[in-house]
Symmetry: none
Subunit: 415 residues, 2 copies
């Protein structure tokens, strides 16, 4: 079963945005054991899009398009698909109702353009879109299937996961099962050195390493006639990887460091607070992004100036003058101070030089001190991060969650 992915949109073609949809869909298809043979991108142009569909269906059985389902005049995918399959466009009342309700909720007037989104080529399966106004749809004809999805990844991805994956499973012969092992605090090349031989030897499962959001990921993908068979062939390889890389593995599956930390904090009922300098609120913001965090998070502080560090955290003036704001001692007092001020079990602090300026020979850009006041103990960490201001701040946040997760696991065992 051959599949082709077509991105429709001048913004992709002209390079205004990167086509991340193709990557996501290609991954999902290989999970389903379906082969992706081509990706394409074409502009918002009816003639070229139709030609693209002709080429696509000459070399593939299933074509998946992203984009061109929006309300504007240059959103043409459904209309061109209708032409291609010789099907007229018909109104779907249920979809129209959804769109009307959506705009009521927004308190915005419904435009005629939006009504356009309720028309589909006759005979289409309509795919609901809980995250936007543009539903997807599927046309099946002459042993070919055209799957049309919206362009915004925030709408396309959940639609693919919840509706298209089950739909496509009927085309897949066996099953590919995939899992990710998550690592932090080790470089990509170092990791590959440590497991080069394993990666080379492996056929089923395959092992693919990636860098992601400052951490590393090993994607294991194994094939089997059944899900169980696929999972079984994964186990011995997993065991090997843990033997070689165990110190750097913090988890498996979809949950990142932030999620795992929030889950631990809540399950252990430990209150947390943060005093941030260089991260400037990124840590609190990551915590607050977790639903239900209010159980263990009351407050956080961005103490950017020295005055704020003294006023809210009780950092000693002499500490700042003697060691500087970016120092182990200041990080220590910030973490201790914020735990005390907020009456939390855990106090987190960050202070560093995010750049681009402000660096010196002794304290270069990328130097960061982290403090974690955990119950009676205060731990401090010194890290050096290369990269721009945004990266230094992001990586600092990642390191905080990594060290905190270590402490939480240790505490869970002994506590």
């Amino acid at each position: 079963m051959k599949v082709e992915i077509i991105a429709v949109g001048t913004e992709v073609l002209m390079g205004d945005i990167v086509n991340t949809n193709a990557q996501y869909i290609a991954r999902m298809l290989s999970m389903l054991g379906l082969g992706t043979y081509y990706h394409s991108a074409v502009g918002d142009n009816a003639i070229r899009l139709k030609e693209m569909l002709e080429v696509g269906f000459e070399r593939a059985d299933i074509v998946i398009t992203t984009g061109g389902l929006g309300p504007t005049k240059d959103d043409l995918t459904k209309e061109v698909a209708g032409e291609f399959f010789n099907e007229e466009m018909v109104l779907d009342e249920a979809t129209l109702k959804n769109i009307e309700d959506y705009f009521k909720r927004l308190g915005r007037p419904l435009s005629d353009n939006n009504k356009k989104q309720a028309y589909f080529p006759k005979g289409s399966k309509i795919i609901p879109n809980p995250h936007g106004t543009a539903p997807g749809c599927i046309i099946e004809k002459d042993n070919k299937a055209l799957i049309m999805l919206p362009g915004p990844p925030s709408e396309m991805k959940p639609m693919f996961k919840d509706y298209i994956t089950p739909y496509l499973s009927k085309y897949s012969s066996g099953i590919l099962v995939s899992t990710v092992i998550r690592l932090f605090g080790i470089g990509e090349s170092r990791m590959e050195e440590l497991i080069e031989d394993i990666i080379k030897e492996q056929v089923n499962p395959t092992i693919a390493p990636y860098a992601q959001k400052g951490g590393l990921i090993l994607r294991l993908t194994s094939w089997g006639k059944t899900r169980e068979e696929a999972l079984d062939s994964m186990e011995p390889v997993k065991k090997l990887l843990y033997e070689r890389l165990g110190d750097h593995i913090y988890g498996e599956g979809d949950k990142g460091l932030e999620t795992l930390v929030c889950e631990e904090l809540i399950s252990q009922g430990l209150k947390v607070s943060a005093a941030e300098s260089c991260t400037g609120g990124m840590i609190s913001s990551s915590l607050v992004n977790y639903p239900g965090i209010s159980q263990i998070f009351d407050e956080g502080h961005v103490t950017y100036s020295n005055a704020a560090k003294i006023k809210y955290l009780g950092v000693k003036e002499e500490t700042l003058t003697k060691y500087g704001a970016v120092s182990r001692q200041t990080a220590y007092e910030m973490a201790e101070g914020v735990a005390k001020a907020s009456g939390s079990d855990i106090g987190i602090s960050t202070t560093g030089i995010a750049g681009p300026s402000g660096g010196s020979k002794d304290k270069p850009v990328g130097l960061v001190y982290i403090g974690i006041s955990f119950k009676e103990e205060v731990y401090t960490y010194k890290i050096n991060i290369t990269g721009d201001r945004q990266k230094v701040r992001h990586m600092t946040t990642m390191w905080v969650f990594y060290y905190l997760l270590e402490l939480l696991k240790k505490y869970a065992k002994i506590g």
Copy 2:
């Protein structure tokens, strides 16, 4: 002159990596006034790659490939190109010497695989690669040009900039100039309605609307024999767009809301502080991401619990009990309180229901109140956002910067 971009590599096709090369090349081409009509991706497969070249040259005059120039067996681009143009592969001594020197410097033995990189289809222009071992090359035949570039962006981009741009300029009859107009606080379909006639009538410049990071963008692209000519033809259309959409336009070019706000704050020398509930630090973090923000930003507070709102901001207990934490009154007192506590000219507050739970009939998920204490005045805003927790928090942050920029512009005029 039609151009097609083809990515060669199974890692792109299977979604192991995102095809950012296509975006970069498409941008550069439009700067040169060359039209990109299609992007494609194909795996490391000789038969399908050759088919891809056939399709490509049926619909384009110039085909640019990225990838498949490496030393391994499955790097096939040059070999397939040789077949396609009926040219034998010949050794380039100069390239071989470079590769040999490169490996001497590394102190690594030269493998036969690496020698493969010194062979090119007969008659190729060879493009040096200062950042790797794989040179690029160009074959011209029958009024067609095939440009083969390496896959790694760190090698491809400098090669394109330094060698391919000058090479392509001979094909470019004029120049395309492009700019973006940035809007916020209006839906895509509503905007489309307001300027539908303009978009329809426009040929030069063309107008392309799309959504980006919670805002909207209008990309104007105009063609001219010279840069000046292109810019001139843009002006009357810009004027029209400002007449229709002026209320929602906050800027032009690359700078987003956050950057424009930070620039205004610093140039007007106004100190700012934030008291965040639902955004949980996102606003402070956006401010701190701007280098040099320390001039006007000392501190921010994440007051997530009612207790914290009372303790740090002096929000009245009766306000919280009478109106609730998510209310115009609480937002008012938070903004006023944080400005006072931090001695800032401007105090920002956010309080809302980010979801997924916590909503009610009167106060549904997505309801947010924003407060801005600006000098002597306190302004409050009520907004309703649809979407998940992350989106509610992100959009709230965008609205804060949008309202603040409005106030800063007004103040700059009267002040």
